[in-house]
């Protein structure tokens, strides 16, 4: 059993190294568009066979496109374009991790948020989302900033993936902490990191798999959707400032948006649910502000309004 597991893990590791080497090579040889053209049969296969993801994409696009900068009704082909955008984003992550993307392609849209966070005596909490590609930004940020990051992930797989990545390219490694539930131990660990000036990163647009109690609803793109309560609980206990981080693909490269969300989140005992609801609604509002500008960069391929 053990040897099987080790063997399997070993294979995975080699697989990742090989995959990263190969995509780095393809990226250099063909460029981003060239890679996407080569990959297009595979993307088409996923588009045609992944009916659940396709339906999620279609219902999302039907909502967002009329409200967005595109300002029209969604067609069947838009969904394919959505899949291509996702493949492109995954490609960029691979290229960034393998060290193929130059840090210069990252531009900072407005540096007030980032400056503000850097000026804090202690650390901060950063809420990211699956809108745009926050992973790319972590690979493109300067060393000092990257070393400050601790990313909260939901699964052991994500932790393992990061370890493999670190072996392949130590320069893009960040700390990860696995959280299934936010308990006292995790909180104390994160508190220590915040006290040392670290930046703790958590996703705000995925609800926890296990703890279904910690879910709150907020209006998003015209209808109520579920959001995680975790980020706001964590922020209130850590007593640190909160920022939102988005990283969008622009014409040439990526654009980083860091905005201050709150100096300090408090959830008074008598009104914890209402208070966290207010924060979630504000978050959903910012998410909406950005998603209508970048409708094809939304990488949640499940029924978000379920």
């Amino acid at each position: 059993m053990t040897s099987d597991a080790t063997h399997w893990a070993g294979l995975r590791e080699r697989g990742l190294g090989w995959g990263l080497n190969f995509s780095a090579y393809a990226y250099r040889l063909l460029g981003r568009t060239g890679c996407l053209i080569v990959l297009s049969p595979i993307i088409l296969y996923f588009f045609l066979s992944g009916s659940e993801q396709r339906r999620a994409s279609q219902s999302y696009l039907a909502r967002v496109l009329p409200m967005s900068v595109v300002h029209r009704r969604a067609s069947f082909l838009d969904s394919y374009r959505h899949f291509i955008a996702f493949a492109g984003s995954a490609l960029d992550s691979f290229a960034a991790w393998s060290g193929r993307l130059s840090p210069e392609i990252l531009t900072i849209a407005d540096d007030t948020g980032l400056k503000d966070a850097r000026g804090q005596a202690r650390g901060a909490l950063f809420i990211v989302s699956h809108l745009g590609n926050a992973d790319v930004s972590r690979a493109l940020l300067d060393d000092a900033t990257r070393k400050r990051l601790t990313i909260l992930v939901h699964t052991k797989h994500a932790v393992r993936f990061n370890e493999m990545l670190e072996q392949y390219n130590p320069e893009v490694a960040v700390n990860t902490v696995q959280v299934t539930d936010i308990g006292p131990e995790t909180t104390i660990n994160l508190q220590e990191r915040i006290d040392c000036g670290e930046w703790v990163v958590i996703a705000g647009d995925r609800t926890p798999l296990e703890n279904t109690e910690r879910v709150i609803s907020a209006p998003f793109l015209g209808e109520t959707a579920s959001f995680a309560q975790g980020p706001y609980i964590l922020a209130s206990v850590l007593k640190c400032p909160v920022y939102l981080l988005f990283c969008f693909r622009a014409k040439h490269g990526y654009e980083l948006h860091v905005e201050k969300f709150s100096d300090r989140i408090t959830l008074p005992r008598q009104s914890r649910d209402q208070a966290s609801q207010t924060y979630a609604a504000r978050y959903a509002n910012r998410l909406e502000h950005h998603v209508i500008k970048h409708p094809f960069q939304w990488y949640n391929f499940f029924d978000f309004w379920a």
């Binding site: 308990g183 006292p184 131990e185 508190q191 609980i233 959830l267 005992r269 914890r272």
Partner: protein
Amino acid sequence: MTDLETEIKILIVDSLMLEDIKPEEIASEEPLFVEGLGLDSIDALELGVAIRKKFGIKIESVNDDIKTHFRSVQSLAKFIESKKKAEA
């Protein structure tokens, strides 16, 4: 009642900002969560962090003991004492 229990009661009232209750009104054996004092899971997080800071003890591993230790002021006092001895 030990001095440590008094300290814990003060810490509970201060760190959780319990406005309508005084430290001496908390009974040492009274359950802190749900029934009794009626604290919730967010309070548990706050309290864990506060205890960590005040007594300098480490609560490292993820285990179910935590719930037993946090049950009442008395069990917290026992927990902190045993931790302090172990680290001394």
